[in-house]
């Protein structure tokens, strides 16, 4: 039996091949977060490189989803949340008091764990985001572009005005990705996007992630280590609110430096 070592809260993150400042789209610096008195994130610093997929891995409750939701300020919806530190996006601190969370979420889209299309037609689902801002361009073209981007167009082009809820789980999740793309964000956050899907649907989402990274920066939380290995360029391992180690995915999976990372990767806990 392996005894899990306690990790000091002031643990210095082990970094390999760090992301250069110029490459970084989003960089989190010395970020801590509390729910009431419970500290969920301890002084996390990490940069996410442009047009790369970064996977956040770690055991349940390690704070990876909290970290992800901090990037587009979804945590603001939870009352009693308090943060310290900065999240820089294009040289702007997203937690600057002058920044409205609503504008943050227009630039940084999100896909959730369970497919959550609105109970509206497929078209209306994709058009929802653009309409919020009174989109003036060609909405039909934007919807088509977004659905093509999410590799769903061919399946739904004849049923655009049927309910989004009538699609299969995997199609619904791709619809949610198309919906996120329609607001034309730079960054797409994915919170365990395939945990509710079967292996075939999962496979298609993974292919899609590999494809969309040409245009977007993707941050993905996953429980599935094979998935992290397949889709991500960089991986960050978290444990109990602390960022233990981050680096290129190959490096993390084949030659982890920190003992805790190695144990997690090899399945000794988590």
């Amino acid at each position: 039996m392996v005894v899990i070592q306690a990790l000091p809260k002031d643990h210095e993150t082990v970094r390999t091949a760090t992301v250069e400042m110029e490459e970084a789209v989003v960089s989190i610096e010395n970020f801590s977060l509390w729910y009431d008195l419970f500290q969920a994130l301890h002084n996390v610093s990490i940069a996410f490189a442009r047009n790369q997929v970064t996977a956040l891995i770690g055991a349940s409750g390690c704070g990876k989803s909290t970290l992800l939701r901090s990037v587009n300020r979804m945590n603001d919806l939870v009352p009693s949340v308090r943060v310290e530190g900065t999240v820089m996006y294009e040289h702007v601190n997203l937690y600057d008091p002058a920044i409205d969370p609503v504008e943050v979420r227009r630039r940084i889209g999100m896909v959730f764990q369970k497919p959550n299309p609105f109970p509206k037609s497929i078209y209306e689902n994709v058009a929802f985001g653009p309409r919020l801002n009174g989109y003036r361009g060609d909405l039909d073209a934007l919807v088509e572009r977004s659905l093509r981007g999410a590799a769903l167009w061919d399946e739904v082009k004849d049923i655009l005005h049927q309910s989004g809820l009538a699609l299969s789980g995997g199609q619904q999740q791709r619809l949610c990705i198309a919906r996120a793309m329609a607001t034309e964000p730079d960054v797409i956050l994915m919170d365990e996007p395939t945990s509710a899907l079967d292996p075939i649907a999962t496979n298609r989402i993974e292919e899609l992630i590999n494809k969309i990274k040409e245009d977007y920066t993707v941050i993905i939380v996953t429980h599935n280590m094979q998935q992290a290995g397949r889709v991500s360029d960089r991986t960050a391992f978290m444990h109990l609110g602390v960022l233990v180690e981050e680096g290129p995915t190959d490096q993390i999976f084949t030659n982890p430096i920190h003992l805790m990372t190695e144990r997690y990767i090899t399945g000794h806990f988590g």
């Binding site: 889209g109 999100m110 959730f112 959550n116 609105f118 109970p119 929802f128 985001g129 949610c176 919906r179």
Partner: protein
């Protein structure tokens, strides 16, 4: 399967059935099942009782809405077959002819709206189920007709022939359907034979309409505020507790409140708007509670999706939460309004008069509603008003059924929009 041999005759078959249980366990299982049957019985009996009671209620009301009458007519005293006259006007022509009026005279009356209105106020033209032994004949009942006797339908069910022979010279014998088509269109009257529901029916429609207009926006607004915007502090909690308590306050208390606030202080007088305001207050707690439940039932994942796409709070509420809560809100409002329709006590307080024979035409008109009208009919001295009241009850139930049908149609329409 075990096979019983002749030697085992007399042993209980159940013991030979294949079983996974020993005898003791089998007995326990049987006891458990008996227990279940007993409680099933306990739950089914009240249901059966309730159904029987409802059937009795409907039956007695419907029976009362039909009765045999012996009438001393004050007009021509003739009845007309369906072949003789097909329309209301045709019957009026025949009746006036029978009264000895000239054709010119009749045409003049029919073309003069004021004369026609007077004629309608004094005469009820209706198909009676049986008139002097014949089925379905037009009868013109005059306001001055004397009703000599009234028998219930059952009382004289199989004695029509006897009844007819007992009639004195010139008397007519009808099976009167009190709840006929013109009942809803006739005005109220001091005479039961020509009394109608139109002013109370229109009064009820006015009041319901205004109640919906007033309570829907206020109720839904309050629910949205409490559910989405209100901070979780002591004041909000106090508000919530009081809201639930208000839903249980007796309606007569709202009547007194309405009397002081709307009738006297606001100066509305005994008018439609005062009644609508009072009833809106009465149902607001129920509307708010129902709307809050509906809003709370909208999945959090949809809100997250909306926020995640950069929606503001109000955009999320108006484009995601409300459309998805609409079904529940509509159902709650309709149920609350159905309660308001049947309310009598508070309306007696705020001036829902029993006798109004003018159809309300503005929110400040005097009014009567169906329940107060029924109440005043039942209190009237003439026995025949009991039958009119029964017809009123049938109409009230009809309005309620229409409302439920409307609720179902609305619900389906919203559900189709996903």
């Amino acid at each position: 399967m075990s096979i019983s041999t002749p030697g085992e005759v007399g042993s209980r078959v159940s013991k030979d059935r294949p079983s996974l249980l020993n005898n003791e366990e089998r007995a326990q299982l049987a006891a458990r099942k008996r227990n279940g049957k007993f409680f099933l019985f306990l739950t089914v009996v009240p249901v059966i009782l309730a159904v029987l009671l409802i059937l009795t209620l409907f039956g007695s009301v419907l029976l009362q809405a039909v009765s045999w009458q012996v009438v001393e007519p004050r007009n021509s005293g003739q009845t007309f077959s369906l072949r003789e006259a097909r329309t209301w006007e045709g019957v009026v022509r025949l009746e006036l002819l029978a009264q000895g009026r000239t054709t010119q005279d009749i045409e003049a009356l029919l073309s003069d709206s004021e004369e026609l209105r007077k004629f309608k106020a004094r005469n009820r033209v209706e198909l009676m189920f049986r008139a002097n032994g014949e089925p379905l004949r037009w009868v013109v009942t005059n306001i001055r007709d004397d009703v000599e006797e009234v028998y219930s339908l059952i009382e004289r069910w199989d004695r029509e022939r006897d009844s007819l022979t007992e009639l004195a010279e010139g008397q007519n014998y009808y099976l009167n359907p009190w709840m006929d088509f013109s009942f809803l269109l006739r005005n109220n009257s001091g005479r039961p034979t020509v009394a109608g529901l139109s002013s109370a029916l229109v009064g009820t429609l006015w009041v319901i309409g205004l109640v919906i207009l007033l309570s829907l926006p206020v109720g839904v607004g309050t629910a949205i505020y409490l559910e989405e915007y209100a901070p979780d502090n002591r004041f909000t909690r106090l508000l919530e507790v009081n809201l639930r308590n208000l839903a249980g306050v007796p309606s007569i208390v709202y009547g007194i409140l309405g009397l002081y606030v709307f009738v006297r202080t606001a100066g509305f007088g005994p008018s439609v708007i005062a009644a609508a305001c009072t009833l809106s207050l009465l149902i607001l707690p129920v509307v708010v509670i129902a709307a809050r439940e509906a809003i709370r039932a909208v999945p959090g994942s949809l809100r997250e999706a909306s926020y995640g796409l950069g929606a503001t709070k109000w955009q999320t509420v108006s484009r995601v939460v409300l459309p998805n809560a609409a079904t529940g809100i509509v159902t709650g409002v309709i149920l609350a309004v159905a309660r308001a329709i049947g309310e009598t006590a508070p309306l007696l307080m705020v001036g829902g008069a029993g006798f109004v024979n003018k159809v309300p035409d503005s929110p400040l008109s005097n009014y009567s509603v169906i329940p107060t009208q029924i109440y005043s009919w039942i209190n009237a001295p003439q026995k025949a008003f009991d039958n009119v009241a029964s017809a009123g009850i049938v109409s009230l139930l009809g309005v309620l059924i229409l409302l439920y049908v409307l609720a179902n149609i609305l619900r389906r329409r919203y559900e189709k929009k996903w």
